[in-house]
Symmetry: C2
Subunit: 335 residues, 2 copies
């Protein structure tokens, strides 16, 4: 395990301490719990937006807490859900009377804990909580239910849901409308990834799976979940074509559509490669008559030091475009 860490048992605590030191102007913790992170920026009467999930995906989730995006976040250990009590603490801190929207990825542990937190918030604190489950991954749709979204994992495309819902809340829309916009973004985003190398959970100390020196796996999840096809590494253009064709067919995205594109590095893949991929995406979408309003390129949702990348498309209408284009200021994302 080639990592710059101390005791694996201190990994989460030490990482979080570093975040609070580096970004003390923007974020703080609540309930004296480093795993419960909230924005310093407050806007009275605004709908609060919270997310949460396992660590190991920076800048997801912590990095999007700030002005114009999320208000709070709780994180668990690497690839582990935080607890219901932690999510409740964040919920209480960020509610200012207009209710709270949870936006997080479609994973069982998170659903179990955050549903419980939502129930406690309602029963004990009289805070109305609504939930949007990020489920953008095309690869995990499942062969038996191609039209069914609920088996799909939430991956990098959740960034678009954060951005659009965050903008809606910042415009002082009410909870119903913030949820409506988050639902719309979520329904219009699709993602597919490819992995070249495994990652190592610090407490485990060895790779979660093995993959040949000349192999890639298309559709692999951000915790190393099995993908849809393993094979020899192909040229970048061929990889993009395979992924993009499946993404486009899934919604489907059609000629005349306008989209935003996120090219997301999973950890160890260079920006150089991400731009080589961007170039091909632009060409393929142009051929399909799909125009690109805006590109985002970089590491937005990682899987520790995994090599690989994902492509996310968000189909836009005028409302989503307006939400996407507003300013935001968080530790990791500025626009």
């Amino acid at each position: 395990m080639k990592k710059i860490i101390n005791e694996p048992d201190h990994y989460l605590k030490e990482m979080l301490e570093g975040i609070y030191i580096a970004h003390k102007d923007m974020v703080t913790c609540t309930d004296d719990d480093l795993q419960c992170l909230v924005a310093k920026h407050k806007k009275e009467g605004k709908v609060g937006i919270a997310t949460g999930g396992g660590s190991g995906h920076l800048p997801l989730f912590l990095g999007y807490v700030g002005e114009g995006m999320l208000d709070g976040c709780c994180v668990g250990d690497v690839f582990q859900s935080p607890s219901a009590d932690q999510m409740l603490a964040v919920t209480k801190e960020i509610d200012s009377g207009a209710g709270v929207l949870y936006i997080y990825g479609n994973y069982n542990g998170d659903i179990f804990n955050f549903d419980m937190a939502a129930e406690m918030a309602d029963m004990e604190e009289d805070i109305r909580v609504e939930t949007v489950l990020g489920a953008d991954d095309v690869a995990s749709a499942g062969p038996s239910a191609p039209g069914e979204k609920s088996t799909r994992r939430g991956v990098a495309g959740i960034f678009f849901v954060f951005k659009c819902a965050g903008a809606a809340a910042d415009k002082m829309m009410d909870l119903d409308n913030v949820k409506r916009i988050a639902d719309k973004a979520n329904a219009n985003v699709r993602t597919m990834g490819v992995a070249l190398t495994p990652c190592v959970v610090p407490r485990v100390g060895k790779a979660g799976f093995s993959i040949g020196e000349d192999e890639m796996e298309i559709g692999m999840g951000i915790h190393g979940e099995t993908g849809i096809r393993r094979g020899k590494i192909e040229p970048a253009d061929q990889i993009v074509d395979e992924m993009l064709n499946q993404i486009v067919a899934d919604l489907p995205y059609e000629s005349g559509d306008e989209v935003a594109v996120l090219v997301n590095g999973l950890g160890a893949t260079t920006l150089d490669e991400q731009y080589i991929v961007t170039r091909r995406i632009d060409k393929v979408l142009a051929e399909k008559g799909i125009s690109v309003h805006r590109y985002y390129v970089g590491e937005y949702a990682t899987a520790l030091e995994m090599a690989g990348f994902s492509i996310s498309l968000l189909k836009l209408d005028d409302e989503l475009k307006e939400m996407l284009d507003t300013d935001a200021k968080t530790p990791f994302f500025r626009q």
Copy 2:
């Protein structure tokens, strides 16, 4: 070689095409040469600032071209200098009568080409060019000349020189003053890195050096230049202590000093690890009586997919602090 690329010979061109597609609102090329990149944002009468060097270090150098930082940049192939003619083309494009400042790393190929470009700009175009050579690397100071800065390589600390000089030019200071501030930032910044894995130049197709599965090399350069010590990987805190002690002793930074800190990932090292490092830096500097005005954490100057990180300190006075704190808006850096 686990990379998502097409033909290695097309790597540079395809990467640059991707950059122009993703950031078409901010950057364009000049002289019909993709390797000559200039900001779309222009400010009449402002001193122009140009940088340049080999590719493979994104977001260095291209990523800092924009408002409040650099005006132009030319890049060569991976780890190779661009030509004098290319730098001249950028120089002509960004000069608006107030002269041009070159800021680039202390590497022989770049010096040879950019000195020639400066001479041509003066002789043929009557453009005054001044130069500041980034030379912040403590590890390459050389044992025979510990006080001599000119043998030192330019590494991640050049970001601070870009930021301070960029702010000075944006405030419409004249070339003498922009150079004075760049010189001051350069004289007050020191960096040291550590590498855990090698990187692969696409045309070469194999690692530039080998290093054991349990080894690290302190002081390694961003092209894989030999460092000052190779040994077993140690806990993060111990690695930070060794690097920071050498950085602090070099300038030296003293009790009562105020600094900015850059924790820079070299490519494959996670943000998690960079924050674990940040936490320790904060503790050690506090013990030394050195206060931190601002942290920057992330990938600012990479070595392709090398695992490792560097620490840079910039000693601040009121003027540098003012320059550091101004806004900037480039493809990779917003403040």
